[in-house]
């Protein structure tokens, strides 16, 4: 998550925002975010519906898998990548997305 925090000034430049989502409760997330000095929100999705909607919830497990998605201004999913976020890849994608006015 520090990777996102370090790149916030660049996300701002490309008119992007960032969120982290897990199935932790809000209190746990708040303590963790405070420890990492995060200034962007983390969302608590205890019931997992948002993860399920983007196939980030493997069957039978109580936690999400690692997955990063990018949604353009019009609400369309444009980028999906599993595993730890590839921050440089995300930045390059956002730069292109922003240049094409949200229509890559």
């Amino acid at each position: 998550m520090e990777g996102h925090q370090r790149n916030l000034y660049l996300y701002e430049r490309f008119n992007a925002r960032v969120l982290g989502v897990s199935r932790d409760d809000v209190i746990t997330l708040k303590y963790w975010a405070k420890g990492l000095d995060l200034t962007f929100p983390l969302l608590s999705n205890v019931t997992s519906f948002l993860g399920v909607s983007v196939d980030a919830q493997p069957d039978g497990r109580p936690i999400f898998s690692r997955r990063t998605i990018i949604i353009d201004k019009a609400g369309i999913i444009r980028y999906v990548r599993d595993g730890s976020p590839d921050f440089k890849d995300i930045l390059l994608f956002l730069k292109k997305l922003n240049q094409k006015g949200g229509k890559p």
């Binding site: 990777g3 370090r6 790149n7 420890g35 000095d37 730069k95």
Partner: protein
């Protein structure tokens, strides 16, 4: 029948030969640096600096978040622990682009696993990488393991982002520090040059 077994033998030999080639290639990996006539080291065509004397061994970390780019380490005489290490780190602990915040974030995590009681010995603004920087000298003690460490961290800027140099010198709680190693570190930092823009600066 003979032809089929001959074919399989040929395939098998080819596979064996190819696999041998693969291992051979990894052994012949090029070193990521070269020496200049002036005695400096050019690292991956990106950095240039004055290397320490040959009694320091090169440390190189391949990949991974929260890892240094490269550094040097030396075993010192005396009771364990007795070693000095210094390194350059493109992404020191923390996230802020402001020195004061980054310093606070950094020391939350620095040597966290060593469970030390830290004391700031010195903190001052310095010139590094051709711009403003922040230098902090700390001492950490572990009365349980009877160990101590003296560390100096120098924060500088590469574009909008903060980069870091650090040196740590470990000693037994009753041992004495060798400050000449810190002079080697200071020379390293002072000589350090950025040869090209970082990925982030090109965005």
């Amino acid at each position: 029948m003979k032809r089929i077994s001959l074919l399989f033998l040929c395939l098998f030999l080819m596979m064996a030969w190819l696999s041998g080639c693969a291992t051979f290639e990894t052994e012949k990996k090029a070193v990521p640096y070269r020496l200049t006539a002036q005695g400096t080291v050019i690292w991956e065509d990106e950095f240039e600096f004055l290397p320490p004397s040959p009694d320091w061994k090169l440390l190189r970390v391949e990949t991974g978040e929260n890892d240094i780019n490269f550094g040097f380490t030396r075993s010192d005489p005396g009771v364990f622990p007795s070693m000095t290490t210094f390194a350059y780190d493109e992404e020191p602990f923390g996230c802020s682009t402001k020195f004061e915040n980054r310093e606070r974030e950094f020391f939350k995590r620095f040597l966290f696993n060593a469970i030390l009681q830290f004391q700031v010995l010195e903190k001052k603004k310095v010139q590094v990488l051709g711009g403003e920087g922040l230098e902090v000298v700390v001492e950490g003690k572990d009365p349980v393991k009877k160990e101590k460490v003296r560390a100096k961290v120098v924060f500088g800027k590469r574009g909008e982002r903060i980069v870091g140099f650090y040196i740590t010198q470990w000693r037994h709680l009753d041992g004495t520090y060798d400050l000449s190693a810190f002079e080697v570190f200071d020379r390293f930092v002072k000589s350090f040059k950025l040869l090209k823009k970082s990925f982030y600066e090109t965005l």
